[in-house]
Amino acid sequence: MDNQGTQKNELLKFVPRPNRPPITITYGPVGWLKKNLFGNIWNTLLTIAVFFLLFLLLKPFLEWTVLKAVWSASTRRECLEISPDGACWAGIFPWVNNLLYGLYPDNLQWRVNLGFGIGLLWFLPLALKKVQQKMMIALMGVLLFPFLANYLFLGGDRSIFHYTIACSALAYLLILYVNIGLTYLRCKRIEQYLEPFMARFSPKNATLLGHLTIWLIVTVLLAYIFRNQALEHVSVDAWGGLFLTLIISGVSIVMALPIGIILALGRRSEMVIIKWFSICTIELVRSVPMITVLFMSVTMLPLFFPNTMELNKLAQVLVAVCLFAGAYMAETVRGGLQAISRGQYDAAKSMGLGYWPTMILIILPQALRAMIPNIVTSFISLFKDTTLVSIIGLFDIMLMARNIAIDKNWLGLHAEPLVAISILFFVFCYTMSQYSQRLEKKLDTSR
């Protein structure tokens, strides 16, 4: 050993060269154009030809949508008189309110706005860097927010239980924002101020106890403040437009994942009854068109409930859409589960993790990560598929858009509303897809 050591010392010492930054080749936009579009005579000719074709294709569209479009008129006839072959956007504007809120009373629409505002506020902290326990916030949002939203949207006399949960949801959000504010001011969180006091009762869970106490106090306070604020009842039949579309797609997107995960795990389970139940559910629901599921939910579901129970159409539709989305999601999740190598199960098992901890801590996080593109694709198609509920008479944005064409002032105005809501749908779907790509990059741990 010593011999080798001295021999090694006599050799030249290898020192790796410092890393150089990678070479970046930038020709600038002009250089790029030259290289890719006008590289040689053929390329130049092709480029010109393609641009000419594009121009021919886009010109009529551009003329229709912008150049010859009519932006203000009181009836379709007036529109046609001003410009016979341009779009009549004027017809959209009087209907904007209906497109967004359906038949929701004008003077109560603030409740819808408030509800969605609170929803946005709830999930906004998930994008902030310094916020801790994001999973908890999201979970609480999924569990509590629906009660608050339902309370706001529906109004009317609700049970004391419902009222309390709605208040506790609001209280949770308030405390969350106070804590976020304190974190950014580099102060302690509220419950940490209470910690010395709470430690007297339970030294181990002082922070948790502090949080719960504050939550309780604020809830009671809010419940007291709002005790006389009765909200006017707005029947579900009046809900509509983008508002309804967002509710249906929101609920089904949130529910699809847990239902899908449970069905997928069930399908891979070793317990025969659970396995066959999952397989039957998935295969039955998947092999039936969504419209059929929707019709069945409205016509057949009431048969399973006592006559005296009044079911609202929205709830029935929600059940159907969730089930449908869940069955599709189950197969996506199963794909992800199959991509996990057996070694991961071995490692978890030899560590002593049981079935549920293995799934929740090890397998599902990896499976869902691998499946983000597919999951988001399902979400996007789900969002678009909710327009089908217009067929069973819910006034979602699609039905509202088609109703413009039978308004006596705007009779026959078909194309413009469809183009308008297409743009709206594009904005929503593209946002989702962009978000999924960001999420993928963020969660990629291999680089």
């Binding site: 071995d346 490692a347 560590m351 002593g352 990896q366 741990t445 291999s446």
Partner: protein, 262 residues
């Protein structure tokens, strides 16, 4: 060769040296019609180091996976520190508390950081407070020489480093027995040594170890007994000098010729 002198005077497999850590009795396993393990019996005393070698397909991995309950078996019994393993939650807890296992492909959890890989078990299974678990894991990572990799993800470090993290992850559960399933087979030659060094260090600390490996140098250096397996049977068992230098059976010497000629 630091601990050889100590070890050689321990009669191998003899209960005099301490408690019996693992006792395998008449183990038989079939994959459908194929008889993978044929009447395997082996008794390992506490702090003993066993190296299992043999040609591929001889059932050595299957054997140690049976000890850890990763594979079901049809016949025979395995007991850990006198407690017989059964297929229920109680033996799952026994395995978790006593046995750690290392795999050929490391099997680190790729979505968790190195540190989280090592704290997951203690936090979720042994109810250790998070800060204490982090402290302990950092100490273990330091012991295997990769403390500064703690915030990285498994995909960002080399194979040898990953295997050392896997060792630290197992040690975090404070096992009394460690099973190694070809821990260096998937590694580049350069990295084999760093893993073997950690294993040698572990052997010196009094861990009971069963290693399936082709590293004959390692077997010579640390093993108390070498088990040679072929066709699902234990062909030969004894101190490394006996099995590796003067094998009784031609099957053993054939295999050794193959391995050592590399």
């Amino acid at each position: 060769m630091r601990m050889d002198s100590k070890r050689n005077d321990i009669p191998p497999g003899d209960d005099k040296s301490g408690r019996t850590a693992i006792k395998v009795n008449g183990l038989n396993k079939w994959y459908d019609e194929f008889h993978v393990l044929k009447d395997i019996s082996l008794s390992v005393s506490e702090k003993e180091i066993i190296v299992i070698c043999g040609p591929s397909g001889s059932g050595k991995s299957t054997f140690i996976r049976c000890i850890n309950h990763l594979e079901p078996y049809q016949e025979g019994s395995i007991s850990i520190f006198g407690e017989q393993l059964a297929k229920n939650k109680k033996s799952a807890a026994l395995i978790r508390d006593t046995i750690g296992m290392l795999f050929q492909n490391f099997n680190l959890f790729p979505h968790l950081t190195i540190l989280e890989n090592c704290t997951l078990g203690p936090i979720w299974l042994r109810n250790i407070p998070e800060d204490q678990a982090i402290e302990q894991a950092t100490a273990l990572l330091d012991r295997v020489g990769i403390a500064k990799m703690a915030p990285k993800y498994p995909g960002q470090i080399s194979g040898g480093q990953q295997q050392r993290v896997a060792i630290a992850r197992s040690l975090a559960m404070e096992p009394k027995i460690m099973l190694f399933d070809e821990p260096t087979s998937a590694l580049d030659p350069e990295m084999i040594k760093e893993v073997l060094d950690v294993m040698i260090d572990l052997a010196g600390s009094g861990m009971t170890m069963i290693c399936v490996t082709h590293e004959m140098q390692f077997a010579h250096q640390v093993a108390d007994r070498v088990v040679f397996m072929a066709e699902g049977e234990i062909v030969e068992i004894g101190p490394p000098d006996q099995v590796l230098k003067n094998p009784e059976w031609d099957r053993t010497s054939q295999f050794l010729e193959h391995v050592l000629s590399h």
